[in-house]
């Protein structure tokens, strides 16, 4: 007995081994923490994470062709699309059988609309065919009768498209999203004048970069001033940064619309001073300039605040020490102060970049055709001109980019260290 107590584990007050008791307490603590987090985690999962997942799934989902034309898809599987020959009679017969049911359910044109994203003319091909599909003559071959309805049924390209998009999952939307096309010999780039999305992605990135740089150039001196002024003065000036931060995005965008338009305040002032004449008023809105000016203003506080909090932690004595050791103002700043402010630059720049790259409202209102961001395309493909697969693919690409930056931000700054206000 006494042996056991001296060589055995240390016991807690209730007689259980201390180690076990401690780990039990730890487990209980973990469970309690998780219990506190669980409701929110569940909430965010249902209202946010699942919707995002659902959206991502739509970018590859392609059940429609195989659901509505099941027999055709099976028959077409064995057809060699590169042979240059048309599929054999069995495929045509299968299509006739599928269409008969599809017309009954009014689903045949849905397939046409889906395939029309890939090959123009498919909508009306399925529509026209659907109208006469119950008049087939059993004495003639189906192939003949289909080609009789419209020549397109005798084109290899029509069948290639159906075969290519018959799988349940497709990378087709992603292929379209990067301005490419699935040809019989693999991927091919669209001709020069038709590359819309890559152009838009590049433009979004370039404009976002310009906005980030402008914010940095404008925000750095202000942050420096705020960090080096006495507390009372700094707090007063800080209000000038925080007020825009707290003001509605729509208010700020309307303000810029008022300022920048041709009959607006800035043009009026310039005409009044005499810098420009009345009939050569500057076009500063509904173009890229409008978007860049407005978004720089909107996002500037997101640059100043992280810069400020980093600069606040740099002791001013370093700068003085450098100067007393003989450094010029510039050297002291560039060699001593600036390197220490780099974490603030990183934090501010990534934050501004992340927020800016997904902007929708401001480019929509002040951007015009040349100031259109990728987000504006996505919105258009969801509501105005529904092509949800393409919208989801463009969204997935944008999301991928933002997630990459988010991880980068987490590595550099840490999500926990995001400071607000």
């Amino acid at each position: 007995m006494s042996d056991a107590t001296t060589t055995g584990p240390v016991l807690a007050a209730d007689g259980t081994p201390l180690k076990k008791s401690l780990s039990k307490a730890l487990r209980r603590q973990k469970i309690r923490a998780l219990m506190l987090i669980a409701p929110l985690l569940l909430f965010v999962t249902v209202t946010f994470i699942l919707p995002i997942g659902d959206m991502l799934f739509r970018s590859v989902e392609n059940e429609i062709v195989s659901n509505i034309l099941p027999r055709t898809v099976v028959e077409l599987d064995s057809w060699d699309s590169t042979s240059g020959d048309l599929p054999d009679e069995a495929v045509y017969a299968a299509l006739a059988a599928d269409l008969l049911i599809a017309v009954e359910n009014r689903t045949h044109i849905k397939v046409g609309i889906r395939l029309n994203y890939e090959l123009s003319g498919m909508t009306s091909l399925f529509k026209k065919t659907g109208r006469v599909v119950d008049d087939f003559d059993p004495d003639l071959t189906f192939a003949e009768q289909f080609i009789d309805i419209r020549d397109d049924w005798g084109e290899v390209e029509t069948w290639q498209t159906i075969q290519m998009y018959s799988s349940v999952y497709t990378n087709g939307y992603f292929v379209s999203a990067i301005d490419m096309r699935k040809g019989p010999d693999g991927l091919e780039r669209l001709p020069d004048g038709q590359r819309v999305y890559i152009t838009s992605m590049i433009r979004t990135l370039v404009m976002t970069l310009a906005i980030t740089l402008l914010c940095l150039i404008i925000g750095y001196p202000v942050a420096w001033l705020l960090a080096n002024l006495p507390m009372a003065k700094a707090n007063l000036l800080m209000i000038l940064v925080l007020l825009p931060f707290w003001t509605s995005l729509l208010v700020r965008t309307s303000a810029w619309k008022v300022l920048l338009q041709k009959q607006g305040v800035i043009n009026d002032v310039l005409v009044w001073i005499g810098i420009i004449s009345d009939d050569s008023r500057l076009a500063m809105i509904n173009n890229q300039a409008g978007t860049i000016i407005t978004m720089t203003h909107i996002l500037l506080p997101f640059m100043i605040l992280p810069l400020y909090s980093v600069m606040k932690g740099i002791p001013p004595t370093y700068l003085r020490a450098a100067k007393s050791l003989g450094a010029t103002n510039w050297t002291a700043f560039w060699r001593v102060y600036f390197p220490q402010s780099v974490p603030g630059i990183g934090a501010g720049a990534i934050l501004v970049f992340i927020l800016s790259v997904g902007y929708y409202i401001t480019p929509e209102l002040v951007g015009g055709p040349s100031g259109k961001f990728l987000s504006n395309w996505i919105a258009e493909f969801v509501l105005a001109r529904p092509n949800w697969g393409l919208a989801a693919a463009l969204g997935a690409i944008l999301l991928g980019l933002v997630m990459f930056l988010y991880v980068l931000y987490d590595k550099i700054v840490g999500i926990d260290n995001v400071k607000l206000g």
Binding site: S124, T199, N286
Partner: protein, 364 residues
């Protein structure tokens, strides 16, 4: 026995309670002056005649296809009657998202007994569609900014020498491509054949390129009237009703250029998959709102032509301005000397492709 009586009594009360309660009907339209004209000509008289119905307006017509798709996917249709342009109606009907209408039983005959189908004639472009108005997309110009010889032809839009200055065009290929080809010497009946080829598309873009630097692109119907009023453009395309309001209601120095106006139709569909009661209510509304008198009434508030032949003679004076509305209708013979028919079926096939090409061209 007592309990049974009680139950019957309770259910009677319950039934009468539900019928007494106003029944909500969501009607989707375009908003602005157009919805206002529908409110005055259709909704208000209908609610006056049916005190049990409460009409809720939703201004989502430009997103109708997307939203009805999402509703159908979810199996929860929240709209009762939807106002859409012909192209969207055809698409919704094709996708099975709109219910098929039988004009003989579901629509009112003309006062002289002509069947609804004959009264609407060719305008019933889809079996799910009940047209209500004919409108057109055409140009308006500033009378004080175009010099001494006002434009008479749509091709003057492409003439920067005689009509220098900015013009506004819609930020989409529809209509612009057709006008460009018409003014590049293509015959009206060949326009869509030419547009089907890559060379034809290039030809249209080349024509548009000649004025590209002088074009302000619009996306909302109110843009061109605003731009004309501000003098930011000297001419621009928009819907004829918007120009009517600008000229007659706001008294701006603007005139209509009816040449090569493109007709389009606007009207109603009823979503497929409504419960029988809601479907019946929607049909009841449609029967009322598309009869001869109601369609003529709408023209009192906005200058769009009624879709029924029998309504045309009933078009009278503007409700507040008191001017005769007939000469302002796009279908008036004086305005309709040169009109262009918009090919729905063709655009249904080529819209995806041409939209992408158009946007790429715009961005260049």
């Amino acid at each position: 026995m007592k309990l049974k009586n009680l139950l019957i009594g309770a259910s009677v009360v319950a039934v009468s309670a539900t019928t007494a309660l106003a029944q909500d009907m969501t009607i989707v339209s375009w908003g602005g002056a157009y919805s206002a004209s529908q409110q005055a000509a259709y909704h208000d008289p209908y609610m006056a005649a049916n005190p049990g119905v409460n009409i809720i307006n939703d201004e989502s017509s430009n997103e109708a296809v997307a939203k009805l798709r999402a509703m159908a996917e979810a199996g929860n249709i929240t709209w009762d009657v939807v106002d859409v342009v012909a192209a969207d109606a055809i698409r919704l009907c094709d996708e099975g998202l709109a219910m098929v209408i039988d004009p003989a039983t579901m629509l009112a005959a003309a006062p002289d007994g002509t069947s609804a189908a004959d009264d609407f004639g060719d305008l019933m472009v889809s079996e799910c569609y009940i047209p209500s108005i004919v409108y057109s997309t055409t140009f308006g110009y500033r009378t004080d900014l175009v010099g001494d010889t006002p434009p008479t032809s749509v091709c003057d839009v492409f003439d920067l020498v005689n009509y220098p200055g900015q013009r506004s065009l819609e930020k989409r290929p529809i209509n612009n491509m057709e006008w460009a080809l018409l003014c590049d010497g293509v015959a009206a009946e060949d326009v869509y054949d030419v547009l089907e080829t890559d060379e034809g598309i290039a030809q249209a873009f080349a024509k548009l390129d000649t004025i590209k630097d002088s074009v302000v692109w619009w996306s909302a119907g109110a843009d061109t009237p605003q731009l004309l009023a501000d003098g930011e453009v000297i001419m621009g395309s928009t819907y004829n009703g918007r120009l009517f309001a600008l000229i007659e209601e706001q008294g701006q120095p603007v005139a209509m250029l009816w040449d090569a106006q493109v007709y389009d139709i606007d009207g109603w569909i009823i979503p497929a998959g409504l419960s029988p009661e809601r479907q019946q209510a929607a049909l009841d509304y449609i029967f009322f709102a598309t009869d001869t008198q109601r369609l003529a009434d709408q023209a009192k508030y906005i200058s769009y032509g009624p879709a029924r032949a029998s309504s045309a003679p009933l078009v009278g004076l503007h409700a507040t301005l008191g001017i005769d509305m007939a000469p302002h209708m796009p279908t008036d013979p004086a305005n309709a000397t040169n009109t262009f028919l918009y090919n729905y079926a063709w655009w249904a096939d080529y819209r995806d492709d041409l939209d992408a090409k158009f946007q790429a061209w715009l961005a260049q």
